[in-house]
Amino acid sequence: MSVSVQQAAFDLGQELAGFGQGQDDNPRRNIGAVVSFTGFVRDDSGALDHMLIEHYPGMTERAIGQIVDEAVQRWSLGDVRVIHRYGVLKPGDQIMMVATAARHRVAAFEAAEFLMDYLKSRAPFWKKEVNADGSEWVAAKDEDEDALRRW
């Protein structure tokens, strides 16, 4: 299991190469499914200059760690990778990724969705959209909170 909260970009291919398969000297052969999700900065209006992502150092790692632990237990995951970026991000930049490894496909998909739902409203990140006219904090959506109820 590994969690990174970082400013730097990440290489999805590199993150997924060998993910869930153990180490060369200690290979794991009981993983039948790997699912990954990558989130990007989206610009619906065409006016977005950049997004500023603030977080709460310390609590962020702690909160994500707790969410990951719960997912690992609930879906018996073989591995989890979470990367979430902060700082200045441009439209089209990657914001974050989650990857899950499990014996079966359903567990890997469900765990990835669970992680995403919880990261959205329980990991202490805040997004601010900055454009030529000014800036605005992104408001949390009711449906993001509702999404937690299905778990």
């Binding site: 709460y56 995403m116 409203s121 990140f125 408001a139």
Partner: protein, 82 residues
Amino acid sequence: MIDVMYFAWVRERIGVPKEQIETSATTVADLVEELRAREPRYEAAFADLSALRVALDQDLSEFNAPLAGVSEVAFFPPMTGG
């Protein structure tokens, strides 16, 4: 003494990311009332508690939670990760 931290628009309204506060408040709600009475910038930040979340020692908590033994309180809007 308690460390109080602010994030996102709460930080912008109050004007500092972190401060140390001498308080005898026994709950988070008491601390909020103390702060609101201090200066208009706190009143502006804490006007609508339903728009705020609180963490005690980096765990999400509630406004009626006791402050005994807590060293770090953080106030922020609902989180928008992912």
